[in-house]
């Protein structure tokens, strides 16, 4: 669908859903690069209502022909609703969810646009200076706050299952092992060995059942350049599970700018853990973290092989998928091999 056609259809759709709106038109529409799991557009919607003319900044997230992650937009929508207005989490307002592809050619949802902020490239974390410590403090406090969100009765709980505390790991490992086995174009001896290792050495049961963002990391938040995180984005892998899953993913070496001294490349580990504990109410358990940290590499491989397949099959020609299937896949395979090999007697 051409952007001009998309804009016309979207204006009509939004006018019908905004109370009292008339003469709606899209004043501007720009596709945002990245976010290959959804086609993401920034839209200025101009309209009139009883109080006069208005312009509303919106973000439209539309399903692409294929995506990095095979998820339902209703789960992302529900996760954003679960977090919006809770504690001091900077989360956009979830506005419309449309599962009928007739409206815009594919299912989509719409959220309010947070006007100030830009993403931080996880491969260039140094760009955040001189606000690294401030961003790090908010990064781990918000991560803990997400873990502390109420689960029972939340919009997310209504859309997804709630595992038993001792089954969180099993559900996630089974899911991502299946993704790897279903989508890998080549044999994956490192991933397969890692999956077996994780099965033989399960983590302790979850200390609590939490909202898990699923992709909480540098690159998936906006910051204002003055030391404030203004938005936490990309909730498409959200689910209910063990909060260690998010902690391990957020501090995965790939998102740390190769800085192993600072958690997530932002703040020293002891400070990060203390902030996360305080905000989440969880107690840090090294054994649980070790398991979920290794699992994070496996989960990443599941995403990367799915990306590679979508690109190779021509379902989605976004070059970011080729990059994921190549560079980031190789990086996580190497991390797994170097961490697991010594456990089985191989010298580093």
């Amino acid at each position: 669908m051409l952007e001009s056609e998309l804009a016309t259809k979207f204006a009509a759709y939004a006018e019908a859903r905004l109370p009292g709106a008339r003469n709606a038109r899209v004043a501007s529409i720009n596709r945002i690069h990245g976010g290959a799991s959804r086609q993401t557009y920034s839209i200025d919607l101009a309209y009139e209502d009883a109080t006069g003319p208005k312009v509303k900044g919106l973000i439209l997230r539309r399903d692409p022909p294929d995506s990095l992650i095979d998820t339902e937009r209703r789960i992302e929508f529900a996760a954003i609703k679960s977090a919006y207005g809770q504690r001091d989490l900077p989360v956009p307002e979830a506005l419309f969810l449309e599962t009928d592809p007739a409206a815009l050619g594919a299912p989509f949802f719409v959220m309010g646009r947070i006007e100030k902020g830009e993403p931080l490239n996880p491969f260039r974390i140094d760009a955040v200076e001189p606000h690294r410590a401030a961003i790090g403090e908010q990064f781990f406090r918000h991560l803990g706050s997400i873990a502390a969100l109420p689960v029972e009765g939340s919009p997310l709980a209504a859309e997804t299952d709630t595992p038993a505390p001792d089954q969180c790991w099993r559900r996630e490992l089974d899911y991502w092992a299946n993704e790897i086995r279903s989508n890998a174009k080549d044999p994956q001896p490192v991933a397969e060995a890692a999956i077996r290792h994780l099965e033989r050495n399960p983590p302790p049961p979850a200390q609590r059942l939490s909202v898990v963002h699923g992709d909480y990391r540098t690159g998936n938040y906006l910051h204002d350049g003055e030391g404030t995180i203004t938005a936490i984005l990309d909730w498409e892998m959200a689910h209910i599970g063990d909060p260690y899953e998010d902690l391990a993913w957020a501090t995965d070496l790939l998102w740390c700018g190769n800085d192993q001294e600072r958690a997530a490349g932002l703040v020293p580990w002891p400070e990060a853990i203390a902030m996360w504990q305080q905000a989440s109410g969880c107690t840090f358990d090294p054994a649980a973290f070790e398991w979920w940290s290794l699992f994070a590499h496996v989960k990443a491989l599941g995403i990367w092989v799915t990306s590679e397949k979508a690109f190779a099959n021509g379902e989605n020609d976004d070059p970011i998928l080729a990059w994921s299937g190549w560079f980031t896949h190789a990086a996580h395979e190497l991390m797994l091999a170097m961490r697991l090999g010594p456990k089985y007697g191989a010298g580093a």
Binding site: D186, A330, G341
Partner: protein, 140 residues
């Protein structure tokens, strides 16, 4: 010109340093930058691809021999990367099965061979890791 690695490198750098900045703000600018980055990486990988696969194949055949396996995987009919990859993949599938058996045993011989398999996996993972190109004057 037949220096494919050099051609890919130069094309990639042009995309990143000249084309992508001119498309800044447009969605295709991101595509151009990412494509250029990978063209440079492909130039580097192209040169070493057959060598890397041949090393992996030799390592896999050695490990399967140590395991006492009768390897039925045919040798590659050529040095084409696609042929070598077919052979490597078949051997890797066999290695996965061997490692599963070893992990189920509780003896020193099994542990020793499993350690050798892990050394192979560490070495091949390291060899596969592309180096990320540096573009000091350009944005991704």
């Amino acid at each position: 010109m037949s220096d494919i690695g050099m051609i890919l490198d130069r094309i990639g750098r042009k995309l990143v340093t000249e084309v992508a900045p001119k498309l800044e703000g447009d969605y295709s600018g991101g595509h151009a930058g990412m494509s250029g980055l990978m063209a440079v990486m492909a130039g580097e990988a192209w040169d070493g691809a057959a060598d890397r696969l041949a090393n992996e194949i030799a390592g896999l055949r050695g490990l399967l021999a140590l395991a006492g396996e009768t390897v039925s995987v045919a040798k590659s009919p050529s040095l084409k990367v696609s042929d070598l990859k077919t052979e490597r993949d078949a051997l890797a599938r066999d290695l996965i099965e061997v490692q599963i058996v070893l992990e189920g045993r509780d003896d020193d011989a099994a542990r020793d061979l499993n350690a050798k398999i892990w050394m192979h996996l560490m070495a091949t993972s390291m060899a596969r890791m592309p180096s990320a190109p540096e573009f000091p004057d350009a944005e991704e």
